[in-house]
Symmetry: C2
Subunit: 352 residues, 2 copies
Amino acid sequence: MPSGRKVPTIQDVARFAQVSTATVSRALSSPARVSEDTRARISEAVRVTGYTLNQTARSLRKRTARTILVALPDIRNPFFSTILDAIERAAAARGYGVLVANRLVGVEANRRLQEFFLSNRADGLLLLDGSVDLANLVELAGEPAEVPIVMACEDIPNAPFHAVKTDNRYAAELATRHLISLGHTRIGHIRGPAGNTLTDDREAGFRDALTAAGLPVCRQWLFDGNFEMERGLKVSESFLALADRPTAIFAANDETAIGFLSGIRRHGLECPRDISVIGFDDLAVAPHFSPPLTTMRQPREALGRIAASALIDLIEGQPRSQVPLRLVLSSEMIVRGSTAPAALPASSLAAS
Amino acid sequence: MPSGRKVPTIQDVARFAQVSTATVSRALSSPARVSEDTRARISEAVRVTGYTLNQTARSLRKRTARTILVALPDIRNPFFSTILDAIERAAAARGYGVLVANRLVGVEANRRLQEFFLSNRADGLLLLDGSVDLANLVELAGEPAEVPIVMACEDIPNAPFHAVKTDNRYAAELATRHLISLGHTRIGHIRGPAGNTLTDDREAGFRDALTAAGLPVCRQWLFDGNFEMERGLKVSESFLALADRPTAIFAANDETAIGFLSGIRRHGLECPRDISVIGFDDLAVAPHFSPPLTTMRQPREALGRIAASALIDLIEGQPRSQVPLRLVLSSEMIVRGSTAPAALPASSLAAS
């Protein structure tokens, strides 16, 4: 607007819309709390008067950017993008925007997280990435930044933050027990990436089930994965090279299971005829895969929604007792076509 | 910090780190431009002095939030999350944060977009969602907000904004020509969602190819999809109910193709023996599907990277001539196992 012109105020907007300034303020900060008609009138008044609600100035006053920062390991993984979708919806419902920091690595991670808060661009951190350096986070959460932090999905053991997660260890035990209940006694596991708590928890659950059933954990049946399809494909080659193969595999996530199945199929093996495979996550593609994938469904929508609400509660200074310190959500087993009863061993076939 | 204490300044940081204030400023705004060692010293000085770079105050002065807003149709779709990953990397490299607005619908969409800019939380809009109301966008881009806007992926015809997109119509023509070159003459198409330019462009390309080959566009072989797997599955039922079926299908995206293939398989049909299917996008799962999916690969990484750069160029006031007005990137055909030569018709088999 021309520099000599008077800057429009909230009073100008209120006068034009024939409502109180309190109503204008409410309409701009919590639009759901005013009627559709009032909102439309205020919107028109804002347009005509050229009023700009200076959120930046407001942030300065209130020390709030009305924005949360979500740090994710890899948004290209549909597991995380579904959670981000739920976070974004929950945040928007409370008037918060969502900033995304994806694939933070090492020193760069610390610098980037600090930058967001040093520059007051976000009010709190929702951390879905358990690989971020704990010391740095503690520094971020302390003076002078005092950043509220909530962890989701990937836990950092002993971190002094609220956390919302799924029962990874128990879910992995259930997945492995499912294979045992089908008569499998030779069971392998494709791990997640090294240094990740999900990897450790899921392997621990796998071991729990085998140990409880008196079955051995066989070193050459533990394969190193990284949660990606391509690695699952690579693992299938190590699997095929074994003289002595397992008859069932618990894969640390669905993407790994899909890559593995793709690999063994290229060599003429069939699932579940030759091998049973159970995944983890229940990605959208899981029911459409061939064979449809048996997997542990994680409550992704609830996880994102609850974590976002908990963080915003902290930002808005609600009493800590209202925010659960460690919330653990349950997974659900979805049995489809990729797991089947163990075939009788060749020796027993010969005997019959 | 205690209220009586002197607020630390950039000079305090420079003194402690034994560098100039210009170097501190550079380290905080463009960390890549200073050495690792200098950055570490300044980082330590910031920590010790308790200095807070007040980006909010800076934004007020410079009218910049150093943040871009990305509006997406559905981040749960891996096609979009891969583009968002590229946008986030490109933006971070230039010191910008990325705010996400997902699944904007109708009036709510307008309100939410306006809010971000009325509150100065973002400097520009990267629009991946062609369903947003054009009039609202034009208002956003004009006085008083003057929001720089770049469109990516989904074009809005005649919109006065820069756009980065792929050659949807031509790519769809190539996909359909591939089916024709395999001897198929009975070819169907599963459309994208109604009212979407991608849907229109891909259907137009499909028609271009059939018309050029002198083949009919058969009304009952045009199926209504919505880019989602579940709808692809539903379409397979309509397909199976036809007395007179096509022998090949061009699906408007990979998710549709995957759902469709999953559906026909449940009824004992095999791809490509009974029907050839080509998709669009080349999702990560496409090579691992059974059969591996023939598809048109879109340059998603380049698309996100170029669109983010173009928007930041606009925000930073670079001459418009440096920003391409309409940049069209090429797609690439990836031939895999889901397409095969048309079988000989039953009549010719009988004659042989």
